[in-house]
């Protein structure tokens, strides 16, 4: 098959699986599982074929609607970076589908769940391959609704619906900006076709490009959970664990970073936008990493680490290295999917999210233990695991950039982030796998069934080895979005400066080990002292958000609702009631007895006669 067919086929395969999955009856779990796995497998195969065959970027575009001189096109544009991201999406989606068959074995709404995962995958692939902004937006929005559906999947959890609504609303705030940015770009460029938009960019006024870039950034911040729109991501842990893996590793949060690389010239030309992104990124790295230190819920630790790692990607984008950002995105996809699925296995066995109820799982769940160890090592950047190379590339990009003060800040915060990451990852590792079991569930845990173990173990391979791709010939240029004229970045560079993050890494690990050693049964986070509750609550940003946004909006909504009931409804009802009352009065008036009727009649006649006489005498 030619790439012209394969490109559009990429999102279509899981979409077909999703649509046919939606019509399955609720009890046909096996068929749903098979369908979901088939969809993900198909997407993965297509993505791999594309990754192998695509050397030069290609586009397939059909014109869709012509509105005035604004043409809306539908088309795919695939370059090697897109193909590689698509492979990552396919791998994670397949792992999640396989894993879910066992993890949600007793779920009574499995077919829609599997179909929603397929739809989620399809939407993400649509974003990946979309050649024009409208298709991109379509995929973007479908992801929003899928995240809402999947986070709220487990209705028995009291916090799930609220978390789903929160995720939807918070990302929606950013999406409004995203939509406006797309419209601004499309209308000013006269086309929504990405190639034409990017070609038209130099001719546009600088203010327009800046506005569009900042508006797009709002959407990116929402989807990729960047400060200040990151608050939905930890709450999204109310969803099933495989969904967390899907959202955090391959879809949703990755979409924002990917779209920035896709439209990178917009941000380069829209001048302060990259600086804004950089500030958002460093704040996010710090908040995410520090908040992860104090969490007790194993999923929330991972969630905050995602926030922090996405911050690294955004930071790489801000210092002008989109290829590095994509590299980190790929490695992060591998190890974060692994970590979430592994955490899911542990939760499944222990029966609790809380790390206080775990401990000593190293011997009971060896496969999970070793896989998770590789994943955590990749997370903190332990050489030679995947995360080491990509994080090192980010730091190198920051230190070698000479664009003002921002790269220095990014570098400093990145180093600090390495220290904190090592600390909280080490804490998670020690609290979960070492020491004595702290609950009956932990002491009776054992390896789960193969559909849950195999994806975790399989994902350990790329988590360990993906970084070595940095040494492959031309990998950096493959990851560079073809629209950008950036100098070739080398993703692999071992030198003296590598020592700094490694030293901090070691410090972090040793620190947490020493603290843990004092009393293996207790949480090292207690040494955080008064900061612990601040970190645990993520700097109280939820409360700030509640005060600044939620309550005023609620109050306003109440006012508007009252006004609607009183004024608008009142006007409508009042008009009806008034008309009816006036009708009643007039009807009563018309129900006159004979005398009054005669009086009124004759008086009327008299009045007319007088009027006629006066009129006649006047003329």
């Amino acid at each position: 098959m030619s790439v012209d067919v394969l490109g559009p086929l990429l999102p279509v395969v899981p979409l077909v699986a999703a649509l046919s999955g939606f019509v399955l009856p609720l009890r046909s779990k096996n068929a749903a599982a098979l369908l979901g796995i088939a969809g993900a497998t198909g997407a993965l195969v297509v993505a791999i074929l594309l990754a192998v065959r695509v050397d030069e970027p290609f586009e397939t575009v059909v014109e869709w609607v012509q509105i005035g001189n604004l043409s809306v096109t539908a088309g795919v544009r695939i370059d090697s970076a897109a193909a590689l991201v698509a492979v990552a999406v396919g791998v994670v989606a397949l792992a999640v589908q396989v894993y879910s068959t066992a993890y949600l074995h007793d779920d009574d709404r499995y077919p829609p769940y599997a179909a929603q995962i397929s739809l989620f995958t399809a939407a993400m692939l649509l974003v990946v391959v979309a050649g024009d902004l409208i298709l991109l937006l379509v995929g973007w929005e479908i992801m929003g609704i899928c995240s809402y559906l999947l986070i709220g999947h487990d209705r028995r959890l009291p916090e799930a619906p609220a978390a789903a609504v929160k995720a939807f609303l918070v990302t929606r705030v950013g999406d409004i900006g995203f939509l406006l940015g797309i419209v601004l770009l499309g209308v000013n460029a006269g086309s929504f076709w990405i190639t034409q938009v990017l070609a038209a960019l130099p001719g546009l006024p600088a203010a327009t490009v800046t506005a569009a870039a900042l508006l797009l950034l709002a959407g990116v911040a929402g989807k990729s959970a960047q400060f200040p729109l990151h608050t939905w991501l930890p709450d999204a842990m109310a969803g099933p664990t495989p969904i967390s893996a899907l959202i955090h590793a391959a879809t949703m949060v990755a979409a924002g970073i990917y779209v920035v690389t896709r439209l990178y010239p917009v941000f380069v030309l829209g001048d302060p936008s990259l600086t804004v992104l950089g500030i958002m990124a460093v704040v996010t790295v710090l908040i995410g990493a520090l908040a992860a230190t104090a969490q007790d819920d194993i999923k929330r630790v991972l969630a905050w680490s995602t926030v922090s790692q996405i911050g690294y990607m955004a930071a790489a984008l801000a210092v002008g290295a989109p290829a590095v950002a994509l590299f980190h995105l790929l490695t992060h996809a591998a190890f974060k999917a692994l970590l979430f699925l592994g955490a899911g296995s542990i939760i499944h066995e222990v029966g609790s999210n809380s790390m206080s109820a775990m401990g000593g799982l190293r011997r009971r769940m060896p496969a999970t233990f070793w896989s998770m160890t590789i994943g955590l090592g990749a997370l903190i950047g332990l050489p030679p695991l995947a995360g080491f190379w990509s994080k090192d590339a980010v730091l190198h990009a920051a230190s070698s950039s000479s664009a003002g003060w921002l790269p220095d800040v990014v570098y400093g915060v990145g180093l600090a982030g390495v220290l904190v990451t090592a600390w909280y990852a080490g804490r998670l590792w020690l609290r979960t796998f070492f020491g004595a079991p702290r609950s009956p569930g932990a002491s009776s845990a054992h390896e789960p069934s193969w559909p849950m173990t195999v994806p975790v173990v399989v994902l350990a391979v790329p988590s360990a080895l993906l970084g070595l791709l940095a040494f492959a010939d031309g990998f950096g240029s493959r990851l560079t979005p073809f629209v950008v004229d950036l100098p070739e970045v080398s993703l692999s560079h071992l030198g003296a400066e590598t020592a700094a993050p490694l030293a901090l890494l070691a410090v972090g690990l040793v620190l947490v080990w020493v603290l843990w050693r004092r009393d293996a049964a207790r949480d090292p986070a207690r040494f955080l002292g008064p900061l612990r509750s601040t970190f645990d609550n993520a700097f109280w940003l939820d409360n700030v958000q509640d005060r600044l946004v939620v309550r005023p909006v609620r109050a306003l909504a109440r006012r508007v609702s009252t006004a609607d009931q009183r004024v608008v409804d009142g006007a409508v009802e009042g008009t009806g009631q008034g008309t009816a009352d006036a009708g009643d009065v007039l009807a009563a008036w018309h129900r006159a007895g004979l005398p009054r009727a005669a009086t009124a009649l004759l008086a009327g006649v008299l009045l007319f006669a007088f009027a006629a006489a006066l009129y006649g005498s006047a003329t």
């Binding site: 009708g583 129900r591 005398p595």
Partner: protein, 117 residues
Amino acid sequence: MRPVIPYVVAALLFGAGVYGVLRRRNAVLVLMAVELMLNAVNLILVTADTTVRATLPHGGQVFALFVIVLAAAEVGVGLAIVLQLYRLRSSVAVDTVRLDAAPASELDEPRMVAHER
């Protein structure tokens, strides 16, 4: 002859008739007031015969005759109605006559609600 005299007389009689129709409660007296109004009109018609030179002579008087005939018919029917009213209510006060009373066959049905929600 000054035609203004019978004209003014007719106008005043008509006014008296209107007053009577509105003032009187007894149906027979109302009929009498109506007769007054009819006669006022007749007087105007006859007087007009003297002031208006029409193509057909005595048109006003012919009309007056017609009106007299009509008045006879009216008073016949009117008195029949009055008597019927008296038979039904043993009273001839027009105050008690309701103009909006539904026919007897529709009285059992509920009245249509004017405004439905």
